[in-house]
Symmetry: C2
Subunit: 300 residues, 2 copies
């Protein structure tokens, strides 16, 4: 059985995340009289400002950069996708859903606070994502397009639809195609829209948007297969969550369908395809290639 | 003790809702290959297309009309506010939240389907509201402003914040001011943004926007006091839900704080204030006045 390679690529962000972290924190800064209850604010900060790789924000910013745009101008979009991501994790972890106690090594939001607050934290973060886009992106055409794209990616045909099918698939045997369709929506859509928003903010031509979308599609699938491989092989310390959960939930996984070796092979192929997709962007795409390498080789 | 007056104002919509209902249904029309699972689509339709008074959509359309705008142009905004409203009800009813089995005389979404699906239905409806605005409103400046306003009204400082405080207030004694602040966010914000979106679509001048906002503030509070009065006095058939729930949940109510007589008086004063607020809109505001009268006198 193929071992997961020891970490050869240390995770370092491909873009300076300092401004991003500041923007993220600012977006969930509430004052005493603005109507946001303290505990709700605490919950939103707990969910959003948790340590994380910030993959999706990086994709936004790197896409903008790769298309000759300004990383700073892309910050609101980076914040918004991370908010959608964070909200979706909070809801996914709920008892009625995946019922997880731990995430990224810490108690999940509903364990740290309570279930009602966690539901509301997720709800508020989703609204806030659109507020950030609609308040901070310019011009209006860019802001509208961003809202439209993110709403679609966050919605019933993508993120939420994927999660619904993922839950329904527990203890069912899926075909490879069905499994891919779940993950394309549950994970891939947000990866792809992250890149799309970055390209949008940069005013990129259709060709570049398409290249980045191709990259995102391949990267998203690779990411998920690696996730599945880690769930089989990883430890709680590495994963930051309880391992072997997929098996206990009876979820079909790529290793289960393809075997570990073949899954590993697929990851390598997909990462190569992701790299190839952004060739036309030239040297500006190098950070995206580094990111793809990291995804393909990550062990946690 | 003052009796609730027998129904003198039969509920009839103040605007033709046929086009609205068609637009609402169209917004949750999914096809087999678009990525939205059937059961999720069913849940969204169950939640959104349930029989209802469509108060908030009426406010959108009547505000547009009162400001000399097109009701048709306001339809996307009317659909969007009803989606936010419907989503918030689905989540409010969840076991961890208000834990209601019945709403509008039917099983709540999580009873009809299951809790996980209900969570996702709410999530998807919220995203869809922004998708509708960002896809269907023009020009871009109007669409962006609408997204911004609805996101704020749906967010941590308003709708969700109000719900968080409402839950936290169970079995606590609130002051009148605290109670009003909860309801201003939990109910009032969506009333007000409905009117604002209608005015926005009509390109209304600031003076009219302000008048409608005043109307919405008064109407929203009156609506909630009547709601409280009905919970004390209504029957399950009238209410479509289990009565006396406020008391069982230990929630402070207006009748509890002010007494039924005084509460009734306040409603009358607020409805008068709502009527006064829209005087400057002339005859165009008559349907809004009729709506206010209905709210003030409703018995179910």
């Amino acid at each position: 059985m193929t071992q997961i390679a020891p970490p050869t690529v240390k995770f370092s962000p491909q873009v300076d995340l300092q401004k991003f972290e500041a923007a993220l924190a600012a977006a969930v800064q509430f004052d005493d009289v603005d109507g946001c209850p303290d505990r709700l604010a605490d919950g939103m900060r707990y969910a959003l400002l948790a340590p994380g790789k910030r993959l999706r924000p990086q994709l936004v910013m790197l896409a903008a950069q790769a298309c000759g745009g300004s990383v700073d101008a892309a910050l609101p979009a980076a914040v918004a996708v991370e908010m959608i991501h964070a909200y979706s994790l909070v809801h996914d972890d709920l008892p009625a859903m995946d019922d997880d106690d731990l995430r990224r090594g810490r108690p999940t939001c509903h364990k740290q606070f309570d279930e009602a607050l966690a539901i509301l934290v997720g709800d508020a973060l989703q609204a806030q994502a659109f507020e950030v886009l609609a308040t901070q992106l310019t011009p209006a055409e860019t802001a509208v397009a961003a809202c439209r794209e993110l709403a679609t990616a966050a919605g019933a045909r993508a993120l939420v639809g994927g999660q619904a099918d993922d839950l329904a698939a527990e203890f069912q045997d899926l075909t490879l195609e069905q499994l891919q369709l779940i993950h394309a929506r549950k994970t891939g859509a947000l990866f792809r829209v992250s890149l799309k928003l970055g390209a949008l903010v940069a005013g990129a031509a259709a060709e570049r948007v398409q290249a980045l979308d191709e990259y995102g599609t391949k990267l998203g699938l690779a990411f998920q297969i690696v996730d599945d491989l880690l769930d089989v092989n990883g430890t709680e310390a590495q994963l930051g969550k309880t391992p072997g959960k997929d098996a206990r939930q009876g979820k079909s996984t790529f290793p289960e369908l393809l075997g570990v070796e073949e899954s590993r092979q697929r990851v390598n192929e997909l990462i190569q395809q992701a790299r190839d997709a952004v060739k036309l962007l030239g040297t500006a795409a190098e950070p995206l290639i580094e990111l793809a390498n990291y995804v393909g080789q990550r062990t946690h």
